[in-house]
Symmetry: C2
Subunit: 435 residues, 2 copies
């Protein structure tokens, strides 16, 4: 029979064990961190009604969506982010949820993007939000959790750049160009990429050159975060609720001795137009070129597509694929190949039942243990151990079985311990793996 | 603006925190168990080329597949199980994998099934396989891991029914009806549902009534597993490699004192025609009606659609949704609502920075802790704690702050400990939660 080529779609990936173990390790660290802050996990369907995901409009994202008619003729789409399904989820399950609601969601999303820029069509998102409360304490908790999550992943040399969309909007109002805010935000967002002159040129196409210069002046940080805040306030026409919010959050940052991690940076505006309050982006100082690894902000109305109830919230999203790539580049990934501590070598065909009995005893003692499943040349068995990075092996042939003992081998150091009782062997392996 | 109804597709589910926490708890227990046996995780894409998933034929499953043309005009499908993608994965990544390869894969699959029978269109599968080796030790390891997985989930009152497809096939050969084996297997598989008489009637449509009676006689267990084995051997025409394999595996079962969990049951044939060796199904003795919660067997050629290399293997699949439902019915589910141990109450607007500082100290001590994010009436804050089942609260108003102390509340027992230093409070909470 002609064989089918086992190919996969462009932009999609198989995860070999080393990569999947590492991805799961990172996700598990993040989950524990989120849970320690009171966040709980949720899940939503991968497929939803297209109308629910895309609303009635047709934006830029829509073209990238995997959309089709199912066998029942329903117009359905695969989720392209975790925010829209979360908004739908809040509206649908509102009566079962107590506010403020703190959830995290780590799962795959799909976008038929151009893969040439190193992007994937199937990738992981990691979102966390506090919904149903509008307070500086909630804004700050997201910031703190972003910092702590990065530290837990051993990338503590990060800077979280933050600002406030309300103050920026007030400046635009003062300049009488609030109606162009979406375009202006999109241009300002490109500052790092295209440079100041080009930003001024593009802005001047929308407004006067004076206004363009004032906007560019506004988005430049001053010396310290507090000086920057004063400069922003002045430019926007004096203190108000929004600048007070920033001042309060910055006070919490100082009180928690976290100033080293945070920088008030008015150039951070986040292109997405649903943000209304504080906004943030996180950069790895060791790899600034890769862009923000964790971004988010405050919005005043999460689910207005689906419900009249106003659900203000604040949250952020970790770019998991980017972060995993960064950890690898920084040499801070684990390259664990398996979880096995001990391989029981197949020495004698008659002893397999005994080998499994031994494996059970080791596992009960907390030692991950597997039996080599066939009596093959010892070198083949060592190669298996090497392929899985198994550090220790247990040898029990007919002679050892008759004497009621086992031999232990350190496969890396090539050290041997012979004629151990089972208890001695367990103690030895435990001591070795806890080192 | 008119609102969009936040509805979800039939057969798809939102997971509220309690359900998602429980699902993750169960998955985590299984993962740890699998890893302790040397299994490693992999992942594959949700979308694949339709030809890769469905081959060139068009079977019963095909109609249930979510299949469409993507924006690039490719004929793609969402995976409907984890076996076919695994076969494709083995063929594609063969040079990066060392045999025997032991993998597990726990993830969602999609089938447009009739939802009336309580089935979902989006559900979880949990597969584990040992590929690249054909030995009784590998057959036995899968059995042992099935038993241990159930025990880890506190459903130890299970019986794994096992048999061997080869012996059944030999009987069919002897009766000269091997060419009808697929239909015969499908009928025999229904024994528990439709009863012996109906099975004989249906079989007699395919062969003689004598043969039908001989088949039904064959699939009845004798007294003990060994007696059953002898009866099977005789019926099939004497001992051979296949019956010896069963005898060896049963020897391992005895040597590992696991006879109570295993029953040789010749009626187990598994309808799927790719099984060639040992086959198994697992029933909860407390809930026999729900059917098998873990089934599998040995196949001699996993990836023959994609490669000439023969990849024999043995594996099983846990029906995760069914198992979770069973645990719930047996009252053995956790109804954990959050992971938070301690809520820091919002007593004073000026102290939020301090509250976050305290929360950090508690978290560093291993106590999951969150701050209530707004100064509201104390009853609203208690309701929040109740909704998340948070057992303890910390009170620090202006007075306590000035004295450098905190008060602790047991929210369930309504006990209070006042004027504690921070160290005392940490010690107290740790002692309480470790109880």
């Amino acid at each position: 029979m002609a064989k089918i080529e086992p190919k996969i779609l462009k932009g999609f990936r198989d995860f070999l064990p080393v990569k999947e173990i590492e991805r799961k390790r990172i996700i598990s660290i993040l989950e524990q961190k989120f849970e320690s802050f009171g966040f709980v996990p949720i899940d939503t369907p991968v497929l939803e009604y297209t109308e629910v995901l895309l609303g009635k409009g047709g934006g830029e994202t829509d073209k990238q969506v995997y959309r089709f008619n199912d066998n029942g003729g329903r117009d359905v789409s695969m989720r392209f982010d975790l925010t829209v399904p979360f908004a739908r989820y809040m509206a649908k399950n509102r009566s079962d949820l107590h506010l403020p609601f703190k959830r995290y969601h780590i799962n795959k999303v799909w976008r038929g993007e151009n893969t040439q820029r190193g992007r994937y069509r199937e990738f992981m998102q990691c979102d966390f939000d506090i919904v149903g409360i509008d307070s500086p304490s909630a804004d700050f908790e997201i910031l703190m959790m972003m910092r702590d999550s990065m530290t837990a992943l051993k990338v503590s040399d990060v800077t979280v750049h933050f600002s406030h969309r309300g103050i920026f909007n007030r400046l635009l109002g003062k300049l009488d160009i609030a109606k162009n805010s979406v375009e202006i935000l999109r241009i300002v967002d490109k500052l790092a990429k295209i440079g100041e002159d080009e930003v001024i040129r593009l802005l001047a196409e929308l407004t006067t050159e004076d206004n363009a210069r004032e906007i560019v002046e506004f988005i430049k940080p001053a010396g310290s975060s507090l000086e920057t805040l004063e400069k922003m306030e002045t430019a926007a026409g004096g203190a108000d609720e929004d600048s007070e919010r920033l001042r309060t959050v910055f006070g919490y940052i100082k009180e928690n001795e976290m100033e080293d991690f945070f920088k008030l940076d008015p150039s951070i505006t986040r292109g997405l137009d649903y943000y209304t309050g504080i906004v943030y982006e996180t950069f790895l100082n060791e790899l600034p070129g890769i862009g923000s690894v964790c971004s988010g902000g405050r919005y005043n109305n999460l689910a207005n597509l689906y419900t009249k109830e106003e659900l203000p919230g604040v949250g952020a999203s970790i770019g998991l694929d980017r972060l995993i790539a960064a950890l690898e580049e920084l040499g801070r990934s684990s390259d664990k190949k398996s979880f096995t501590d001990l391989l029981i070598l197949a020495m004698d065909e008659k002893l397999f039942g005994h080998y499994h009995k031994l494996s059970s005893v080791f596992r009960k003692a907390g030692i991950n243990c597997e039996v080599y499943h066939m009596k093959k040349k010892i070198n083949a068995q060592f190669k298996f151990a090497e392929a899985k990075s198994i550090p220790y092996a247990l040898v029990c042939g007919e002679e050892e079985f008759d004497k009621g003992v086992v031999n232990l081998k350190d496969l890396t150091e090539r050290e041997n311990w012979n004629d151990l009782t089972l208890e001695e062997a367990i103690g030895k392996v435990k001591a070795l793996i806890s080192k």
